[in-house]
């Protein structure tokens, strides 16, 4: 087993810190400050336990997301705060979007705005998925991990990953259909 040196770890931090922070952001329902704290906590833990990483047993990404997922579980306690934050943000964004809609004149700008709105509504739909489904969806489709790695990170069978992926996609498609109708 090769021990990760400081140079290796610094390179991995530069490559993965943003991705991990984005994952935390989506897992915590958009709490940017919490996502930043969790990212720092994550890399501190990974650095402290770097001797436990064995490249033959799995990739750094799988290891990183396994630890990140455990941190998320602890962070779920902040859910009430996050829910309040999301509600406040949505309420604050609505007038801005309306103003933007009024300002947009060209059809291209309209189309871009429509797409942006759709994207935001889809992101909100992802946030509203039940925890177990959302975790699988984020790891499988947002972080683009293979099914086997998702199963390893979450500690669930591959079949469960597949069925939850199926449920997540079906739910999102239904919501999207409702939005476009």
């Amino acid at each position: 087993m090769t021990r990760l040196t400081a140079d290796d770890f610094n390179r991995l931090y530069r490559e993965h810190a943003r991705r991990a922070q984005g994952f935390f952001l989506r897992m915590t329902g958009g709490d940017a400050a919490l996502a930043e704290d969790l990212t720092q906590e994550l890399f501190t833990r990974l650095w402290e336990h770097r001797d436990g990483f064995d490249a033959r047993q799995g990739t750094f990404t799988t290891w990183m997301f396994s630890v990140a997922y455990n941190l998320c579980k602890n962070a779920y306690r902040h859910r009430d705060v996050v829910a309040a934050w999301s509600a406040e943000t949505m309420a604050r964004n609505e007038p801005g979007d309306q103003a933007l809609s009024a300002a947009a004149v060209s059809p291209a700008a309209d189309a871009a705005l429509d797409r942006r709105e759709q994207r935001e509504q889809l992101a909100a739909a992802v946030r509203s998925l039940p925890d177990g489904i959302r975790e699988v969806f984020l790891l499988r489709y947002m972080e683009e991990l293979p099914i086997g790695d998702v199963a390893r990170v979450l500690g669930i069978p591959e079949g469960t990953v597949k069925s939850r992926s199926f449920t997540a996609l079906t739910t999102l498609r239904e919501k999207m259909k409702r939005l476009t109708d």
């Binding site: 040196t5 930043e36 990212t39 199926f166 498609r173």
Partner: protein
């Protein structure tokens, strides 16, 4: 008694074996069915993923934008730098244990021992100094010598 138990066991095993075989057969068929189901589910999932490509593309755009906006702290990890806790532990022993109270206690103890010691056990140098001092002629005790002795004991 033993023979009867053996017979009973053999009868039970004989009775049970067809069930085991039946169970194995059923399990095997279930596993095949489960594999087929899994494969079928995978096919369905692949189809669903393919037809949801526009949704996934939009969500990935959103993800990229969110990630781009994030402010990630600059951080450098360095090998072999002891943590603050380790630093405290690794301080020199003398400095770690030293406090003004220890010093006062040590000096006091030195004085007590120094003064309590019989004069015959004191060093030759302090004895000779005693005899050479003018004070000795007047039969006075040598406070200075005692202080020296006390300091010697202390350090």
């Amino acid at each position: 008694m033993i023979i009867r138990n053996k017979q009973e066991r053999s009868v039970q095993e004989t009775d049970y074996q067809p069930d085991v075989r039946e169970f194995d057969r059923r399990l095997a068929s279930h596993e095949v069915a489960a594999d087929q189901l899994g494969a079928g589910r995978m096919d369905q999932l692949s189809q669903l993923e393919a037809s949801s490509i526009d949704i996934l593309a939009m969500l990935r755009e959103q993800r990229d934008e969110e990630n781009e906006r994030l402010v990630v702290q600059e951080r450098t990890f360095v090998d072999d730098v002891p943590s603050s806790a380790e630093t405290v532990v690794r301080m020199p022993k003398l400095r770690r244990g030293l406090s003004p109270w220890w010093l006062v206690a040590a000096v006091t103890a030195g004085f007590v021992v120094g003064f309590a010691m019989p004069r015959s056990t004191r060093s030759a140098s302090s004895a000779s100094r005693y005899t050479l001092t003018a004070d000795s002629l007047h039969g006075r005790s040598l406070a200075g010598g005692d202080v020296n002795m006390a300091l010697l004991v202390t350090f």
